[in-house]
Symmetry: C2
Subunit: 332 residues, 2 copies
């Protein structure tokens, strides 16, 4: 039994295709009796309108796509919950696809916006150059989340990474730290901003970075351990380490502890994101809370505006407030 079409339903119900379509779309211009006959036929044939035919005619899909490098990051999955909930409330389905850091895969997925497979795109952490993001965003419905390109043409939602890094570094200095090191991620736009904030806080206090290390590949637990080993092997042991993520900070803490040193007495460690990792770590991590869920909601709001109001074109960058969360990894 092949798929039933609107024609089949019309025949079974004894009405025209127009009437069937009107029932499907809740048009008021249908008599109760027709509505009933059509509903019966739909049930009998187990009919569902074909998405591609409908999308073609309507010129929209009511679907959006969120692109992320991977799904493991707690901030990403939380932000996506925000996108998804907001989307659902507006009748959109939101889908996610990981690029796995492959430009080809990314291109293929961005093409889904270009070819109308989806109506809008949320970019989480593209490997795409800023120029490409800009070019895409000027023509189509795109919003950036967390990682925002330096561009006047595109729009993005994030926290003020620079300020947040400055805040947490100031806190470290406030607890008495003088030889501060950082473990960062220059591959990410946010990582570069956090580095800036770190350096600004230092020079404010008349200090210089003891060491700055940057991950080459992944920015994960193992990278945190590896880089911390380097840190400890060097001459001047830092008395505080600012890490670009909680997961990396957890690796850092682990390596320090394994080396027989105490956190925070010998070395204080700060994380970033306030993910569950921050609480799983012993001692629990001082970190920066990102309002990820809210960021997702706001991002979808902007995307919806872009999709439905062709005139409006929001630009630039919107900051949501972050929060310094102080826990045992830095108490003095």
């Amino acid at each position: 039994m092949a798929r039933a079409t609107v024609q089949d339903v019309a025949k079974t119900a004894g009405v025209s295709v127009g009437t069937v379509s009107r029932v499907l779309n809740g048009s008021p211009a249908v008599s109760a009796s027709s509505r009933e006959k059509v509903a019966g036929a739909i049930r009998e044939l187990n009919y569902r309108p074909l998405a591609s035919a409908r999308d073609l005619r309507r010129d929209r899909t009511m679907r959006i796509l969120a692109l992320a490098k991977n799904l493991e990051s707690p901030v990403i999955s939380e932000a996506f919950r925000g996108v998804g909930d907001a989307a659902a409330r507006s009748g959109y389905v939101s889908l996610i696809a990981p690029t796995a850091g492959s430009p080809d895969r990314e291109q293929q997925l961005v093409d889904m916006l270009r070819n109308g497979s989806v109506d809008g795109l949320v970019l989480f952490s593209p490997t795409m150059p800023d120029d490409d993001v800009e070019a895409l965003a000027t023509q189509l419905s795109v919003v950036q989340l967390c990682e925002v390109a330096e561009s006047e043409a595109a729009f993005g939602v994030s926290i003020d990474d620079r300020q947040a890094a400055r805040d947490i570094t100031r806190h470290l200095i406030g607890t008495g730290a003088r030889r501060l090191a950082m473990i960062g991620n220059r591959a990410a736009r946010s990582g570069r901003l956090r580095e800036q904030g770190f350096r600004e806080a230092l020079s404010e206090a008349g200090l210089e970075a003891a060491q700055s290390l940057f991950a080459a590949g992944d920015f994960d637990f193992h990278a945190g351990r590896r880089l911390t080993r380097e840190l400890l092997a060097a001459d001047n042991l830092p008395d505080a380490v600012f890490c670009g993520s909680d997961t990396v900070a957890a690796g850092c803490v682990r390596e320090i502890t394994d080396a027989g040193l105490r956190v925070p007495e010998d070395v204080a460690v700060a994380g970033f994101d306030d993910s569950i990792q921050a609480e799983m770590c012993v001692p629990e991590l001082t970190t920066i809370r990102q309002p990820a869920y809210e960021m997702g909601r706001v991002a979808f709001g902007a995307l919806l505006e872009r999709m439905t109001e062709p005139g409006v074109h929001r630009r630039g960058r919107m900051f949501l407030p972050h929060e310094l969360v102080i826990r045992d990894s830095t108490k003095n």
Copy 2:
């Protein structure tokens, strides 16, 4: 400037729409000169074939959808990498959508298969009743992953959860444990199988479960802590705890340690999944490794077969081999 169509390209290139389409689809029956003219026009107009029109005509989308309750689980994201890579190799785009445990959301997403928005579906952890899974799978292209319904009509890929739980419980008993407790998740099919395996290993050894606790809501770090507190408050302190996931085990270890007891000397703890949490925990967790990536690949393979070979209909359940990984949380 509205979207360019195949007609526009044809006009600009000075050929017919048929020729444009043939170029688009790499038909050999096109002269080099036409091919070139069309390629030029496509570039000039920045043309992309509209997905809905193409899908309508071709009656397939080359897209699949993976449904999961959430994205945070490392096993899920790893399994999805496997699905995604295998799909890409066959020219499919694979998308993910979290249901957030909402049956409505789940229904909406499953409808994407019913209405032809995607060609196939990978079900990770549906809240859907077994009967519904079965009904869906008999008509459409569906494959289950990790959580597999008790049904002869549907097909699913997973490890042998019962056997794996038995293996790790035997190991606990082998290290001398006699008062074994478990923290499980009866809300998941896999959780129920793991409970079975746990009990089988116990009765094999002539033992009885000291305590068995089950999470009410989420099965996460906090649930692990909460349930372990209950465990410790009871009279007969267990000398080993089998946890249904690494994350829960991490919560368990944390609570035991905070109570001033030692892991594994006072209480041994075992996890499940061999996620990164198992390595982040101190001491590192003994656990069961699931070949998640491979499971994803295999699942897509089965789905592809189902989508492209209408005659074949694989049924039942396929087990991939698990592995007992022994670490410090249970050494004796």
